[in-house]
Symmetry: D2
Subunit: 432 residues, 4 copies
Amino acid sequence: MNKNAFCPTPPMGWNSYDYYGTAVTEEQVKANARAMAEKLKPFGWEYVVIDISWYAHGADGTDQNYFYLPFNTAELDEYARLQPDPARFPSAAGGQGFKPLADYIHSLGLKFGIHIMRGIHRQAAHQHLRIMGTDTTADHIAEPNNVCRWNPYMYGVRNTPEGQAYYDSIIQQYADWGVDFIKCDDICNTDNLNDHTELGYARKHEIEMLSSAIQKAGRPIVLSLSPGPAIIQKSWHYAKHANMWRISDDFWDEWPLLKDMFPRCEIWQDHVKAGCYPDCDMLPVGRLGGGFGRERATGFTRDEQRTMMNLWCLFGSPLMVGAELSLLDDWTLSLLTNQKVLAMLTPDCRPDQIRRTEDEAVWVAENQKTGERYLGLFNLSDQEREVAMDFGDLWPETAQGEELWSGEAVPVAESRLAARLAPHASAVYRLS
Amino acid sequence: MNKNAFCPTPPMGWNSYDYYGTAVTEEQVKANARAMAEKLKPFGWEYVVIDISWYAHGADGTDQNYFYLPFNTAELDEYARLQPDPARFPSAAGGQGFKPLADYIHSLGLKFGIHIMRGIHRQAAHQHLRIMGTDTTADHIAEPNNVCRWNPYMYGVRNTPEGQAYYDSIIQQYADWGVDFIKCDDICNTDNLNDHTELGYARKHEIEMLSSAIQKAGRPIVLSLSPGPAIIQKSWHYAKHANMWRISDDFWDEWPLLKDMFPRCEIWQDHVKAGCYPDCDMLPVGRLGGGFGRERATGFTRDEQRTMMNLWCLFGSPLMVGAELSLLDDWTLSLLTNQKVLAMLTPDCRPDQIRRTEDEAVWVAENQKTGERYLGLFNLSDQEREVAMDFGDLWPETAQGEELWSGEAVPVAESRLAARLAPHASAVYRLS
Amino acid sequence: MNKNAFCPTPPMGWNSYDYYGTAVTEEQVKANARAMAEKLKPFGWEYVVIDISWYAHGADGTDQNYFYLPFNTAELDEYARLQPDPARFPSAAGGQGFKPLADYIHSLGLKFGIHIMRGIHRQAAHQHLRIMGTDTTADHIAEPNNVCRWNPYMYGVRNTPEGQAYYDSIIQQYADWGVDFIKCDDICNTDNLNDHTELGYARKHEIEMLSSAIQKAGRPIVLSLSPGPAIIQKSWHYAKHANMWRISDDFWDEWPLLKDMFPRCEIWQDHVKAGCYPDCDMLPVGRLGGGFGRERATGFTRDEQRTMMNLWCLFGSPLMVGAELSLLDDWTLSLLTNQKVLAMLTPDCRPDQIRRTEDEAVWVAENQKTGERYLGLFNLSDQEREVAMDFGDLWPETAQGEELWSGEAVPVAESRLAARLAPHASAVYRLS
Amino acid sequence: MNKNAFCPTPPMGWNSYDYYGTAVTEEQVKANARAMAEKLKPFGWEYVVIDISWYAHGADGTDQNYFYLPFNTAELDEYARLQPDPARFPSAAGGQGFKPLADYIHSLGLKFGIHIMRGIHRQAAHQHLRIMGTDTTADHIAEPNNVCRWNPYMYGVRNTPEGQAYYDSIIQQYADWGVDFIKCDDICNTDNLNDHTELGYARKHEIEMLSSAIQKAGRPIVLSLSPGPAIIQKSWHYAKHANMWRISDDFWDEWPLLKDMFPRCEIWQDHVKAGCYPDCDMLPVGRLGGGFGRERATGFTRDEQRTMMNLWCLFGSPLMVGAELSLLDDWTLSLLTNQKVLAMLTPDCRPDQIRRTEDEAVWVAENQKTGERYLGLFNLSDQEREVAMDFGDLWPETAQGEELWSGEAVPVAESRLAARLAPHASAVYRLS
């Protein structure tokens, strides 16, 4: 299987984390899937992804307030493989795993994804559980001092045939369940000096094990790596083994984080290719945080939300909505369903940052197949500001731009297109 | 002008440094140009490049033994522009500059290149020389504490319109002389904490000034940046403004440096595109070091030299010979004129590192236009070793490989091609 | 209690690690204690220290070959406090702990020490054991991702009153047993990026908790911190809370490690004070490694061993012998019992490095109370070499030196004392 | 000469920089000296120090706005030795140097100091001036790429006998002039990656050359090293060769800089000894900045100024006033002449930081000779705050404290002394 064919365009979907944290239940996932099928699917949205802790007993969304639940237990099968907690996922009872839920999602014409942590659960190691298809036990494949910086559930897996057998066994199970997308965490940037050999990339072998296990399982499972920032020196390795990799730490609805995505996209602009997507992380829009016990509307202004969409789409990032979809308001729905903006979201569009300062950014993109040309003007400052593009050198024949949110046509005079933009606002144009 | 069209394939040529150091003379350059025209030109070699210090009074090749000549003078015109030292370049007398020599090189069907140091000469700053086309003097555009770590001749140029005017004035002069290739030094990686703002990339604006000056001058001058290692985070910026950039510090005829080029190529493998070439540096083959007062044969074994050629060509690096060309022996000539190997040297060939350990490396490359496929097997260890490629996943239909140095046909059995290789040796195959 | 009074001179003793690794037994400790009492005690040697893993089930000395025993269990009491493994320490059976063994050591006129790892055992956290004197359980004071880089047994303890209660409870137990010396590991330099707040010194609060617990327990227990290198910026904090702290990573019988101790002593030379000792680590002399299953003589030459003693004593480091004492040969015994050399081992002697290059070092020390002056000449090179001290500036009245190993009197001529030294050899003089 | 005897207590004086920048004149120096003699001398103030650029032609105080004057010239004698610019120091005309001015200062019962930059002036190198007492010229001892990061006047001096001869020649001249104090700049922390060998301490040999030259000259010249932060690993080396060394970058009248001095003093607290003073930098009080063309009152509040005095004196830092002394107001005069506070300023007083958080700090100091004990309570927060000391452990017999600014006696109850302090305020007590 050619893993680049698993997702010829950047994946679009929904992820449970921004609203539900660790606490999402089967019914909530289904409700979001139904909302997606109804309102977003026609615009290309298709993945429904359950984030961290689906196997953790007692996870209630507020647990990460105190660094996950202290030394709680998890649902495991006899082969050290994590299973959905039946308290939250009743259909998983009796060893069914996520198969019933995946079937339901598929019945809506959507795809099903899960989050996993790199490694093997600590409980398996302490209980010396057997590894499927081997004569060994979990204590021999677990590295006891390789514990994630921000979540203590798992131990890293050794680079041995038995370690590969473990990964093969879990991925085969996920394939059997019907999983289409795996977001693997604590693997893209493992900023963990316990292993001094390759700063931030010490678990390269676990990426390769995952990739190999997916090939063996024979199901086209999209592989997404977290957290960022990804290591630019390893770009070739991500591109060889994964479909998307995070270029920042967790992204939330705060302007400094959004502004900071501009230099990140700058660095990665030459690395967007079919099946290979540097990932700007989830879109924290709409209603958020309910599962954390602090439900709220996104902290982004409307201008900032459009700036985010403009950058993600011009750049070519995957789009994963964080909002509770059954609570989606009309404005947010319009944000996510602007077909003219979403048309940029293809690796055929090659992004090119023209300019970036503390105060503004200018990006262009050209579709290599259709010849469509796009321009984004961004005001990164805290004051109103005119941002302009001079086409003299690049595309001197440009005559006008259609702004894709307002629909307005803006003429190009003296090879120049300019916009007066509110703080943090932006405009994106299709040129002709 | 589209700078990527200046060199649609990696530049191939000769550079005076490895043999002559700082001391090369007009006659020696001409002799090398004649040798190139006669023996190498038919195989694609075309650039004749004069390296550092052509303007320095008294430079005699041994000067860098004591950090260049202490506080010596340089040949400058009234506008702070460096001129060839007439003691070594007689045809430059009377303000002719390199024009007569460039004309001669062109008459042989070859192209002419020069080395420059980033910045403005210290003598110009201390003498307050005028900057062409401005009302200012050199002391106002020079940054007095911005001195290269390894050569003290120049001061960095400020990021001002007057600074740009200076760069415009020198590039216009080089264009007028007929220069086709500029190797600018102390600019690609300026590992100089004097400027803490961007470690290793503090002189970004001087790269942009050079690029802009070349566009204004209107002559297709290939821009080559030294020294390395280039900063991978800035790959997009090199690709936007330059044609080639060094990925290592100075490369010489020592195995550890050659072995070290493998991880460097690994990092840069996705960055080879038409007009954009990560540069593995000069080929220190044949006779070297004469101008330094220590003439010698290359320290590389023949196996190592072929390993170097195999890597440079598979990867897609520019090729600049360091040997004195009029002293070229037959074996070295054969090394440089293997058409089947040189056929890989095009950005149409996409390199892909399959595997690298301390002991071996395997690379493949596929020509996107012709479909030709290549395989390189490298023994990086100090013992004889079998190195193999398994085609099962990648190109299962492969039936055999033609080794491009021996001409031998090697069958692929059980999807596997293997070579028994001497220490540091390699084999490169065209597959069918 | 003033902790500096616990050890007015650098502690001298024996530590089980270099010979026994993790496997030492009660009988072996007793045998070494008897050998010390008989042969070394008259020269100031007094501490008998049991190193790592005395609580670990199944520890057999070879376990660290594979990173300690994978997920083995430990002897714990109901309050999460580690107890000696009765399989190796029979007298500890029935909850006696180390009291019987400590009593035996004390009966020989010696002092008793133990090694501990910072933190609380993982088994206690997973079993949610109660913390003495609190309402909380181990899972609430353990930091689940704070695992030592090189030993996985323990979790770090949180900086809370309950965490302090845990440390109080273990130190009180050690005091009750009669412990005189605690070597706490994984605390002096915790080079562990999991905590980014203070690189290498993230567990400052556990040092303070230990120090406070010792004060509360009311027994003068010497506190020794490992591993090094200690953080020089925190020298004041070590000096405030501990009695000795390692200035290097583990020291073994290899010349590069010994040579490397010279720059370490250079840095710490101003920090030797009564009760405050930068620690050069154990003396790997005599028979070593038996408990690891590879018994051997020290790899140091006799010259190197004297160089080690000269440096440790001039500098003022604690002295902990690593040899199996019941196997001590006469020469090694003479090395450890040279009273004239050991006379330098007092903080009254202020060390002063006069000179250090790659090839040699010169140190002097002056006893602030007695006025005795000492000189050490060290050949750090691999060739025979003359090393000299010029007294012109410092002590012009010096007339001669008595070499303290040979007893030879060497005259000072023209204010200069010189020695012709074999590679890695040294000479140490008392001046008059 | 024992350099520690040159200044048995921390030097106290005035420095021209904070008011005059680079532009101070002879008359202004004399006026400040007279003011010192009259008002401050009885309280221990004695050094009058002329800061940077006394040799620079055209220096006018505003020059550092544009990185000193671009490529201006300097007053040099035939031996490459800098001379006072006679335009500003008329008495220096005719080769008198600073002798007449030093004589004047001495006649007031004060001491005379100057600032120098490490190295040799660039003009001397470019003009190939002779080095006194040698056959060599300046271009051979100057390192052409060793230019200070923030001032471009000088080149570093090579570690050769000729380099030492240069330093000998300038220090002998300064001794002949009657200089008592040299503040050498660009030498304490040379954060200059041009020399990768010892980060921040690459010019160790120039410190040793200065120290050696002072010994040879035979005059007790106090050696002060700038800028900081000094490298703690080299504390022993500073202590061996210099009298004071800066522990911060330039200190000005801004609260964040003052707050930041607390962790710096924390690190250096064990390093204050007779003749060896970590230096907190000048006191920017009174009238400042006149020579820069922006005369102003200090930006510190009165509480902050007392906090500064309390810390500097408890810690044991040299005191160098930055104010224009002839403009000194009564309150500032009282700040500088509190004898009870200044009584702490002796190395007999050993400082000891008891506690430091973001919000407060507590220091004590005990005079080893007189037994006097001091306590400082500091509010580092931006709110009013009670700060307290508990004497239970340290000095349980303490009965009361006399606050040294208010004169108020504060009783100690339950072993505790507390103060309610305004933001950034502090109190300092003599205990009894």
